[in-house]
Amino acid sequence: MERVVVENLSFSYKHGFELREICLKVWGGSVVTLLGPNGSGKTTLLKCINALLKPRTNCVYVDGKDVLKMREDERARLLGCVPQSHSPTFPYTVLDVVLMGRTPYLSVFQRPSKADVAKAEEALKLVGLNHLKDRPYTEISGGERQLTLIARALAQDPRVILLDEPTTHLDFRNQFRVLRVVREVAKKKDVAAIMSLHDPNLAYLFSDAITLMSGGRIVAFGDPINVITRENIKAVYGMNVEIVNNERGRLVLPLEVTS
């Protein structure tokens, strides 16, 4: 059975931008990337799935359950969310940040137990950051911060994780580091991952399927090899590119760099 089903999702902001009739299916253990230019609706779609924005109809199901109807804590046990990397006001330790992922399992007056700390440490190990657990979250690198947020989402024991542009602000190496972790943990924990990305080459390398978006609609969906094509890139980004394809890989090469 599909892990996540989005059925005819429509949403409109007051200022006019709208998502129209978005349909999406994601299986457990797979990574689906939302790709598209700025303002194409990727972040809006992620927020709708996570109920931070309210679509016109209830149309998001995880394991067949309507997540928009749920209480916040019920939803947070199914959906883990990785926001764009940020610098928070308070210098909590890395472990404390990850521990906050256990909040949906606690009542209002409860504090995390030893078992919750163990869960948080396990999540940190999974992303390879256990050695940083006592460091202030504000004093680690951007890539490590992103990994910490992924660990926090994993500590929620979710069925799905949503990642909003997890590679923004990261250097070349860290972009790969973070996306590799996303793919590994999705497989290992049988979690469905839905993320938005800007770089077609990264999307191609790290996705099981790509959803190409433009102007609030889905333009193409499917295997990366079928979605990342010269025609699609031209249609969505208005750029002329060449797809370089050889035995070692496949690369989207812009043709208008100097013009």
């Binding site: 210098p91 209002v108 995390p112």
Partner: protein, 337 residues
């Protein structure tokens, strides 16, 4: 690692409280005071060999005043720590939501119109709470109550009540005006057991709520969207925090007037001392530091000169430079943008 600093903090208020029992303009021999305390504790009924005036001073003047200072320091500091956290803003203090301006106006109005002690306290309390509800309803939009709107609404409500307060002052005769000015400076001087008994339940209920929710405060400090996606009903839980903070601050302010800086300063001191922003430890630490600090300030207020100084002025005079010192020492690391 977290145990040792805590023991130090926990014994701080009792020690300061004990010392405070000996202090005052009326000299009471320390050994007699100790003797009296032990006799009271062990066999309260015994006939006392010391002058009755000692007993009145220690048990009916100093002790309730000490209790009020402890409660007030706790109230202002814990409210300050909670509000700084949910507003994610280091410059927020326990009066951010317009409580002090509301309470000030309420007290002034009562002093001008109906100068009876209980009336003044009730009016200050009611207007403090009212100011909060106005702030909250201004900030409330269809989608929720963003913290920025809350801060702005708090500023607007504060300045409205300040203007109303000026108007009351303008129309009040000089004798009553003096009363208003004194009230606004904040003082624990006219305390009796009745004041303590009135506000203690309110302060303790609000404190209990904030103390129990201290883990939630951490999560709320991440901002609305993140807290929500971590499973928190942000609107509801933040309202509970704001209500609890308003309750404890308004009830203390209603009997003591406006005492500034404690709510701003103490949470920072707690974070710097603990080297952690984690509210699981910052909230109890703020309670300990705050109560000891306000009590010390009040001791200074009643002992420094032959007459009473307003403790609110002392906390400001002492607080501002001390805070500056901490910041210069690098304490700003405990809170970075």
């Amino acid at each position: 690692m977290k145990k040792t600093p805590f023991v130090t903090l926990a014994i701080l208020p009792p020690i300061v409280a004990l010392i405070s029992l000996f202090l005052g303009t009326y000299f009471t021999p320390p050994e007699t005071v100790l003797n009296m305390i032990f006799t009271k504790l062990i066999s309260p009924g015994t006939h006392s060999p010391w002058p009755a005036v000692y007993e009145t001073i220690v048990f009916n003047i100093r002790l309730p005043r000490i209790a009020l200072a402890l409660l007030g320091g706790l109230a202002l500091s814990v409210a300050g720590a909670s509000l700084q956290t949910v507003f994610r803003n280091p410059l927020v203090d326990s009066y951010i939501l317009g409580i002090s301006a509301g309470a000030g106006f309420g007290a002034a109005l009562a002093i001008a119109v109906f100068p009876h002690l209980l009336g003044i306290q009730l009016s200050a309390f009611a207007f403090g709470i009212l100011a909060f509800f106005i702030t909250y309803s201004i900030a409330k939009t269809r989608g929720g109550t963003p913290t920025v709107s809350l801060v702005l609404a708090g500023v607007i409500v504060s300045s409205l009540f300040s203007a109303a307060l000026s108007l009351v002052k303008f129309f009040t005769d000089p004798h009553q005006l003096a009363g208003i000015v004194t009230w606004l400076m904040g003082s624990l001087a006219v305390t009796g057991w009745r004041d303590v008994a009135t506000i203690a339940p309110l302060v303790l209920v609000g404190f209990a709520a904030l103390f129990l929710m201290r883990w939630r405060l951490n999560v709320l400090s991440l901002g609305d969207e993140e807290a929500r996606s971590l499973g928190i009903n942000v609107e509801r839980e933040r309202l509970v925090v704001l209500l609890a903070a308003t309750l404890i601050v308004s009830s203390f302010t209603s009997v003591a007037g406006i005492i500034g800086w404690v709510g701003l300063m103490v949470p920072h001191m707690a974070r710097m001392y603990l080297k952690s922003p984690d509210n699981r430890v910052v909230i109890p630490a703020s309670a300990c530091i705050g109560s000891a600090l306000l009590l010390l300030a009040d001791d200074a207020a009643r002992c420094l000169t032959t007459f009473e100084l307003p403790v609110g002025v002392l906390t400001t005079i002492g607080g501002a430079p001390f805070f500056l010192f901490l910041l210069k020492k690098g304490g700003a690391r405990a809170w970075r943008e």
